[in-house]
């Protein structure tokens, strides 16, 4: 025998369950645009049917259903897609940072244009040609000086920009480290909270979404592996544990990350991209530029001194005590612009002491580089100190004087632009070009930036496609579809209305029993 009121109970359960489903639908709709949100579904199950209460088993055939209940509210998500997403996202982070750095390098090099280092260099060589046309003229000398200053300024400026880029990257690594640290801390506290909530038997869907979103963001910055355990997420970077359930294993700062690169644990992600950009890309190009400047100033190069040139006494080329006049064209090896300039004679008439170097180091510097090069202050103060002549003559009064109209040195110096230098005397294999003209070296250098940048752009856009693809598959599983939710809403609303109708029907039945029965003959 059943309870008279069991029909009401069934209708009530149905009302509650459909309402919960409606509420969850509302929750889904509300979070359509929430980042990292996974749609939730109410798991409706039929209630356990009851045996009729009695001393013996009921004779009534069949079990009578007791309506509906919901067993859980689940979020729809596929873990496999998450790990795929982390994998693609780290590479995307890595390449997008490289692309960014290389694009900045391209801007710094400013090619092709008429305002780059190459242009300043052309003007420098050409100014020596101008000087060769009027060696006794101070104006032509001033042109050489100004162009030399423009050249050293350009080198100093580009070198400064490269150093700035370098420190920007370091600064970025620090910022990323702080972000990573904050995220890991958030994941740890979410781990704790999720364990607490789920310990009570509920699904902490929204908290899990938050945690997954953090893991998504983290996966762009470093390579992570996420394992879901009973205690929450364990997060590792390579073999380094970062988070184990409720405990934080590492305090992430920039030193930690740089050590991880050295030990090979940090293999990808934005941070790896930043560290590589700084230590390999930018550092390498800075080194190339320094090599170019150093070679230009003091690298070995062969020049042919014309017959009639007078070599100073007591130099490498002429160790004897008296000056030597060359009787034939002679090929000699000199040390870059400085070595060649020191062979020449300037308007100041000095013929005994060794010639002045053209470029000098800035105060405190020990080696020629793009940052340390400057024009000899003696030349900037007095352009007469620029050497242009290779000849001396004995004047009628018996003194030896400089032939001011000789342009041999100016011609040789401007000719250095087509001379082949050795950029890698120590055979390190680190230069973009072993031997060639300064111009060729610079072209190879800029070309290298172009090739690397092109590669980074291609990789970054490929990787972006892959990330988008995985994300879209994830969206396909977890994303909220408004159409679906609206259809569900209709479904649940109708069920709710029908449940209410069935309650009314039971109500009418009871009304009949209570108010309409036992009044026979009244």
């Amino acid at each position: 025998m059943r309870s008279t009121f069991s029909g009401l109970e069934i209708a009530k359960r149905s009302l509650f369950s459909q309402q919960t489903a409606l509420q969850t639908t509302g929750h889904n709709i509300a979070n359509t645009n929430t980042k990292g949100y996974s749609r939730q579904v109410v798991n409706l199950v039929a209630s356990r049917p009851l045996e009729a209460v009695g001393m013996s088993s009921s004779a009534v055939p069949g079990q009578i259903g007791q309506g509906v209940e919901f067993s859980a509210i689940n979020r729809i998500r596929e873990r496999f897609l998450d790990s795929q997403f982390y994998n693609e996202n780290k590479n995307y982070g890595d390449w997008s940072v490289r692309q960014d750095t290389l694009e900045k390098l391209e801007t710094i090099m400013n090619e092709p244009s008429d305002t780059s280092i190459r242009t300043v260099m052309e003007k420098f060589w050409n100014s020596w040609q101008e000087l060769s046309k009027a060696p006794e003229n101070l104006t032509a000398r001033a042109v050489v000086k100004e162009n030399a200053l423009a050249l050293t300024d350009a080198f100093n400026h580009v070198s400064g920009q490269l150093s700035d880029l370098n420190s920007d990257l370091t600064e970025n690594i620090k910022v990323k480290a702080t972000q990573i640290d904050t995220m890991l801390n958030q994941i740890v506290s979410l781990n704790k909270e999720i364990r607490r909530v789920e310990g009570l038997g509920n699904d902490a869907n929204d908290l899990r979404d938050q945690r997954d979103l953090l893991a998504d963001d983290l996966s762009k910055m470093i390579n992570i592996k996420v394992t879901d355990t009973a205690n929450g997420y364990n997060i590792t970077m390579g073999n380094t544990g970062l988070v184990t359930g409720p405990t934080l294993n590492a305090n992430v700062d920039s030193d930690f990350l740089e050590d991880a690169v050295t030990s090979g644990e940090l293999t990808s992600g934005e941070v790896r991209g930043l560290i590589d950009s700084r230590d390999n890309v930018v550092a390498s190009f800075q080194k190339q530029l320094d090599t170019m400047v150093k070679t230009l100033v003091e690298g070995d190069v062969k020049v042919t001194l014309p017959a009639g040139s007078v070599l100073r006494a007591g130099t490498d080329l002429n160790p004897s005590a008296a000056p030597v006049t060359l009787s034939a064209d002679t090929e000699v090896t000199v040390k870059g612009i400085n070595g060649l300039h020191q062979l020449g004679y300037s308007l100041n008439g000095d013929i005994t002491s060794p010639g002045e170097p053209f470029f000098t180091l800035k105060d405190g510097a020990t080696e020629f580089s793009a940052a340390s090069i400057t024009v000899n202050p003696k030349i900037t103060k007095n352009v007469e100190n620029i050497a242009s002549s290779l000849r001396t003559f004995n004047d009628t009064d018996g003194t030896t004087k400089v032939v001011k109209g000789n342009n041999g040195l100016a011609l040789l110096l401007s000719g250095l632009s087509t001379k082949s230098f050795n950029f890698d005397p120590a055979n390190t294999g680190e230069t973009v070009l072993n031997g060639g003209t300064i111009d060729e070296f610079f072209r190879a250098f800029v070309g290298e930036i172009g090739v690397q940048s092109q590669e980074a752009q291609r990789q970054a856009s490929n990787q972006k496609l892959l990330v988008d693809q995985v994300d879209s598959r994830r969206q396909s599983v977890s994303g909220v579809s408004l159409d679906e939710e609206m259809a569900n809403m209709i479904k649940y609303q109708h069920a709710y209305n029908a449940a209410a109708r069935s309650m009314t029907s039971f109500d009418e039945c009871l009304d009949k029993v209570i108010n309409g029965m036992g009044v026979v003959g009244r």
């Binding site: 092709p112 190459r118 040609q129 009639g308 070309g447």
Partner: protein, 298 residues
Amino acid sequence: MPGRITQNMMNTQLLTNLNGNLNRMTGLQNQLSTSRKINKPSDDPVGLSYSMRYRSELAGYDQFEKNVDGAVSWLDYTDTMLGQADSVLQRIRELTVNAANGTNPEDALKAVQQEVDELSGQLVDIANSQFNGKYVFNGELTDRLPYSKTNPEDSVTDSGEIHFQVGVGTQIPINVTGNTVFGNANPEENLFGVLKELSGSLQAGDQTNVSALLGKLDSRLQQMLNVRSELGARTNRVELAQDRLKDISINLQNLQSKTEDADMAEVITNLKTQENVYESSLSAGSKLIQRSLLDFLR
């Protein structure tokens, strides 16, 4: 494409595609506004290295052209000076021929002598002529007076050659030395020595010697002519170099333009196509997104 599609997926897809369209349009617009297809090294690293080489070489050839202009004006100036010297010498020869004619009275010879002295002075001035403040006939000692006013016949000029660079590895000497033009510093072949002797003979009325000197004058004239023809040949060579440089410059500009310049017709066509694609994706977007089941529910 996965089976289940949500509005947000369509939104993301639309945004990605729109962004791609915009990116391509920016690239094309950049090409259009700069009229170059290489705007940064990564656009075409190989093309860029060619383009940089053409630019450098162009700058070099521009300088050579300037050098050639300088060489031409120096050679022209020298030629003008030699032309003047030539006419002065012709006048002296005329006078000498007249003076050698035995009928001249002594005072006439005096007058001739005066004029010859004047003309000799003028020749020394020509030998000491300056171009842009530089003595042209003193080799590389361009800052020193080559011929002394009093004893020009003893002056030794510098033998240095001034070279101008008119091409890669091509240098052309652009000066002639005073001693080549006017003879070495010995009285036998030096023009100024001959003139001094002429002046002395005129003063002494030694007409025999005057007519004997005519031969020497002629040989000096011949020498000057030789130098002038050599100068002319050199000027020809420089002018040839000038033409060649212009040709090379034009060729280089052509090559640079082929490497760097965008094909405008192509760029504009592509840009128009991209604009169409962009507009259609925009309108597709507006149509896709505006309707959902929501619109059909009461």
